[in-house]
Subunit: 302 residues, 6 copies
Amino acid sequence: MTYGTRIATAIAVIALGIPAVSHAQLFTLTREQMIELTAQNPFDRFPDGRPKVPDGLIERTRGLSAEEVFAVLPGKNFRNQFADGFQILHPGRRLVGRAFTVQFMPLRPDLDGVVNARAKAAGFERMTNQTAIDMLQPGDVLVVDLFGQGENGTIVGDNLFYYIMKATKSGGLVVDGAIRDLDGIAEMEMPAYFRHTHPSAIGNVMISGINIPVRIGNTTVMPGDLVFGDSEGVYFIPPALVQQVVDNADTIHIHDEWTRKKFDEGKYKSSEIYGSPKDPALKKEYDDYLKKRLEEIRKTYK
Amino acid sequence: MTYGTRIATAIAVIALGIPAVSHAQLFTLTREQMIELTAQNPFDRFPDGRPKVPDGLIERTRGLSAEEVFAVLPGKNFRNQFADGFQILHPGRRLVGRAFTVQFMPLRPDLDGVVNARAKAAGFERMTNQTAIDMLQPGDVLVVDLFGQGENGTIVGDNLFYYIMKATKSGGLVVDGAIRDLDGIAEMEMPAYFRHTHPSAIGNVMISGINIPVRIGNTTVMPGDLVFGDSEGVYFIPPALVQQVVDNADTIHIHDEWTRKKFDEGKYKSSEIYGSPKDPALKKEYDDYLKKRLEEIRKTYK
Amino acid sequence: MTYGTRIATAIAVIALGIPAVSHAQLFTLTREQMIELTAQNPFDRFPDGRPKVPDGLIERTRGLSAEEVFAVLPGKNFRNQFADGFQILHPGRRLVGRAFTVQFMPLRPDLDGVVNARAKAAGFERMTNQTAIDMLQPGDVLVVDLFGQGENGTIVGDNLFYYIMKATKSGGLVVDGAIRDLDGIAEMEMPAYFRHTHPSAIGNVMISGINIPVRIGNTTVMPGDLVFGDSEGVYFIPPALVQQVVDNADTIHIHDEWTRKKFDEGKYKSSEIYGSPKDPALKKEYDDYLKKRLEEIRKTYK
Amino acid sequence: MTYGTRIATAIAVIALGIPAVSHAQLFTLTREQMIELTAQNPFDRFPDGRPKVPDGLIERTRGLSAEEVFAVLPGKNFRNQFADGFQILHPGRRLVGRAFTVQFMPLRPDLDGVVNARAKAAGFERMTNQTAIDMLQPGDVLVVDLFGQGENGTIVGDNLFYYIMKATKSGGLVVDGAIRDLDGIAEMEMPAYFRHTHPSAIGNVMISGINIPVRIGNTTVMPGDLVFGDSEGVYFIPPALVQQVVDNADTIHIHDEWTRKKFDEGKYKSSEIYGSPKDPALKKEYDDYLKKRLEEIRKTYK
Amino acid sequence: MTYGTRIATAIAVIALGIPAVSHAQLFTLTREQMIELTAQNPFDRFPDGRPKVPDGLIERTRGLSAEEVFAVLPGKNFRNQFADGFQILHPGRRLVGRAFTVQFMPLRPDLDGVVNARAKAAGFERMTNQTAIDMLQPGDVLVVDLFGQGENGTIVGDNLFYYIMKATKSGGLVVDGAIRDLDGIAEMEMPAYFRHTHPSAIGNVMISGINIPVRIGNTTVMPGDLVFGDSEGVYFIPPALVQQVVDNADTIHIHDEWTRKKFDEGKYKSSEIYGSPKDPALKKEYDDYLKKRLEEIRKTYK
Amino acid sequence: MTYGTRIATAIAVIALGIPAVSHAQLFTLTREQMIELTAQNPFDRFPDGRPKVPDGLIERTRGLSAEEVFAVLPGKNFRNQFADGFQILHPGRRLVGRAFTVQFMPLRPDLDGVVNARAKAAGFERMTNQTAIDMLQPGDVLVVDLFGQGENGTIVGDNLFYYIMKATKSGGLVVDGAIRDLDGIAEMEMPAYFRHTHPSAIGNVMISGINIPVRIGNTTVMPGDLVFGDSEGVYFIPPALVQQVVDNADTIHIHDEWTRKKFDEGKYKSSEIYGSPKDPALKKEYDDYLKKRLEEIRKTYK
């Protein structure tokens, strides 16, 4: 049985809700469970039920900053979606893609035995980091809870990093844990956020979930969240809020343009212009500018 | 419907494997799932499948130290069962009981909605820390993953601590998070291990699992594990290893007795006696002593 | 000129608003400034304008816990009044008294020269920790910002601690810095909260303010605040809220009494009784109990 | 009333010593107070009394390193003028300018009310970070005590950073707190030193002083200090020592030149040349070189 | 060959300066080397050259506090003799005794082979923590550099702790590392200072020196130093300064007595009495008191 | 006496085993001691006995990564040879060279006196950081234990860094401590690993050993170890394992080449190719590739 066949079988197995793969925490969610947990998703879904934020929105998100996500999420009561404190592989490059989540826990032989028995029943040799990596799709960002481990918490070295880059089309990696082969990895273009680097291989851990809700820092990440990273940290955006975030960002960008133009004139104190202009004439000037520019920008999104 | 009726219904629901409560991570395990995950348990089980280490073994464990657990577990490849770095309410008093696990995650309104919908379907008003606390049994130790939170990570104050003490018959509490009302709690006898204290109430979190595998520090805890705490930290002992741990501890206790008796004689350097006596005559003296004392002790275990 | 005379003169000088002592940050506030900054104080004041929470309320506060202060302050938008992370000299003993604040900054000879010139003009030899300590009144708690220093950040050793205990009638000490002579100090009964201990003497710092607003951790402390410490940390309560805090605490105490009485009956799940009883009959029982007990307690406050 | 008029009025108010603005800590210093506190300043002053280190000296300082400041200050008993542990926006670019200080404290509604009442009396809408930012002059470095806050401790985002860059002619920013919009800010040339970045806006704090002495790490900073930053950290140099620091640095630069020239010859062990040459002939060679080069350099300072 | 014979031989070997044991760092010092390194020792020595502070002085030291050591050592340019940050087994009990030092380093098989070959040549089976422990004398404090290790850095458990207590007559233990069996150890009376506790056994380390200079925190400890611990931390006092420290402490004790007596009178501000009395009459009163009390105390030291 | 003469004399003195320089820890090892401690060294040695890994192997090591060292050392029971947590001067440039070790300890005047007396006896003025630096050879990496000090733990500034770069031909520097003059040093090409930077000069420390075993983080470093640093940290490789490390790295490099070539084909899941190909045909393809490429590479090493 080739790998392709095996994974197809596994997906079929999942789709059929066969018990061996129906337990969320130690393997994954059924399609029905995934849909229930992400019921607010307004977009298409992958065969396994994971929300699929459209490519067009992903591209528009690339122009954002963390502040522009912050401008929307807390107001919608999503106050725990930003994680920071990472080492960032390429601080100048944005990370954008759909969350593919993996959860590890400290190795415990009795549980690990169950996990591997289930994996075997689903056609895999055993459950390893590569089992998850081999499921990645173009546009995915691999999001891994390795509970902050350095030594032995190394999700990938340069070879598997290379594989992920190819498989996700440079989607990206966020690991609350470590990577190895930093010098080799630094030569590749895919964005990555990690806590540590260490020359050791991954070990003394077991996979406890694939595409289940995971915790990264003080955030809860759902499979299918839009992952957005800049030089400050990483935002996990629920699919239902993506459209609003990118639309609102257009306004912020225009506001920034206008504000700096005014500052360049050198005639105003900051408080006369920013947050919003105090003078009614200036306020009108800004409103007109905003309207015109929004129209220009929106035209490009057709 | 009284609480008693509701919880009975809920248990029945669980036993029947009705879908609304069958998703491991966001609610709990079915009895079948619990049995699969704890297949090596040699003892009876609670109605929900949780292993029930016998009361007699729990009592024998009360005479142990963390070192005596350490003497067995790593050798059986359980290397990640000890957690430390806690504040300990009563350092001189042992914590011993059966793990009842609860997992929290950072609040996320979309997921929290699903959790509460499921709770409602199972007859609860909503899912809170008290939903879990109300399920505790005599001999239980409440083990809570609140991911190290201080402010807002306070699983209980003195009133609910008092309730837990009554419900578990002073079983105990281990929280990778905080408690509040420390002064009030300090007057009660139940053992407790916590990371922080804070006057705030619990908030900005949601329950993501009851009696599922949880991570406390670098350990993986299973519902039904025997929880053992002394002044160094907490051990989570798989039921399958409990008998061996307590039996082996008898030998260690006798070895300690004999060693100190010899040291008291003042005739020997430490290396002549300890780890094991070098001199064949001494070795025989020790072996005889061990045999005799083991027989005496074992007689008391009828 | 005896010390008594000198300090009287200094107070007179302050009362007259003479320029040499009118700069807040490098010396102290005039009476007028103090009154302006603490305008909401509903109580009497010391001659220098510092609010004087009445002794009776101080005594009632002694029965509180940090949670009972927390029950009131955040709701009044005072969200930054609790500081923790201290070593506590006597964890079982409450700290209660009026804040007398002192601010130190890293020594800088040019500024220190100005401070000492002003001190001399006011009749002091030079400005030291003892200058401030000698101004303490019965019921005061000395609150010191030594910006977390250990070595050289030792506000007092056992002799001056003894003096403060006598002068404040065991009011107390809170220092975001250190003390020395811990063994000697541990034998005295006055409550104390500190970050470190170190055998060195205070040094490499200068006083930059006496009875001005100071920062302790993430709190802003005003002279005259009611300082309340338990085994969790320290609350700085604005005088205007003290009455409400202690009154509300009576209700909490009664609620605790009733809740535990109910838990003792062993008939209820925690959620049937706590936070508030769900059953209307129980609710009425509680309301009657509360009313009766409040009357009993309030009678004792005449 | 235009902004210009308002600020002029405010300065007039300050100059007249009107009580509402005479308290150092909760607003600012009068011109007289500023002059008293910075009495050793040998240079001109701004209208509000703040020392104005001449532009020429500022330019010469740009060629220094922290070690060359260290070579002078501790010897003059200024041992607490260096702060490190910052994130540095452009590590390769020197920060040089005159300190404009701002102090924040944790928000406390009663005090914040007083601050804003005073601000209103002086013609401002309310007291915010922009109130201070709008007072900046060319050559200023904004030095902000935000007591190390990350979330909510963000003094500016990219728009206000842009304004500061324009207003100070790229003077700079040092904040014991955070900034937001790091990616946007990173594209601008102004030097900046900060503890954290966070997408949140500034909040839960209040301004407690503008151009008063502030503490940054273990340093005391005075308004008008010459702020010097390199890739190691930030030095706050009292105006009275600036001339000596830059003059002495000339000697150090020449010493470095000569030392490396000698090392390049490859004939000497380090200890024969450095700290100072042991051989009398070499010593003379160095002395001659120093004299000649000093003359050359000093000529360029006309 | 009994242990006694073997160790006698080993000491003889050392005394003869036989090469196999002459290398300081990986075994120990010869008597000659020890004497050279501790040349300022004014007291007797052990056979191996280690300074032997007399028992009488050790007893007098028991009445000291860290501050009284601090009063002498920095003034003699010994500024690095105080270590803190320890967990203290019995905070109320003083630690006093002669330093017996042991240094560990991370295990490296090639070096460990050399160490063990040397140990074998000197008549030991191999070099372990017990090799050093078996050399302890009454009045010794075992001072161990285990470079701050927790797991595997456990110098002893309760059995060897018991042995050390017997062998040193409750001298004590200072370990920059860990102990195990905390509950068992806590029942014994010997003072102990340690960084961590952990249930693991010592491992992954090797002994690199016995009775050589070692580093504990930021101190350098010499074999034979007088080790003094109170609830703040540990002082390592060079033998040459012990007499001066205890003599000076007498004066400090009397000064404390007199100061508090004066404070008890309630007539004085602290600055009139302490540091030293300002009033000439009071100064004379103090001087007379000091003289009288010193005579009384010194009489007891026959 | 020129420096050259003096150092020659010193080496002669060492070679003769004259007592003044025979104590390992407070000065250095004799040639005999060095040979004993590094007996497994398969290569030539320096006159003082330090192993001299050949230049050719050093060059081959330059192409490695930390992971390739990790692939060999733990398997040979060298588990403590990797140190990380450093600031790295030039993260993209490999550090490779022979360890020249220096150990500092906190200053203690009595011991420092002995050290300097010995230094004088060996013809040096006194023992300073430059005494060690002047002994460096081309290809050396200076490895310094300054026990993590920042302030006063600055082994060199830019002048001595320049000297070391010249003397070692850009070998490198690893200091468990600090450097000063970071901006000046950053312009030079020599690799450097350090914990901190600080403008202060080295002070309050003393040299306790040159070319003795030292501890850097959790590693034990021997003089003559091959020091290898990449962007993750520093490996100290025992000479006896260098050949095996570089030979094995050839295989890893080829394995990486082949793996990525396969990944580039886009036909395989990662687990079909990596760690080793599952399909026998692919396995053979890889084996043939490996053989061919190894031959090609090995040819270049002639």
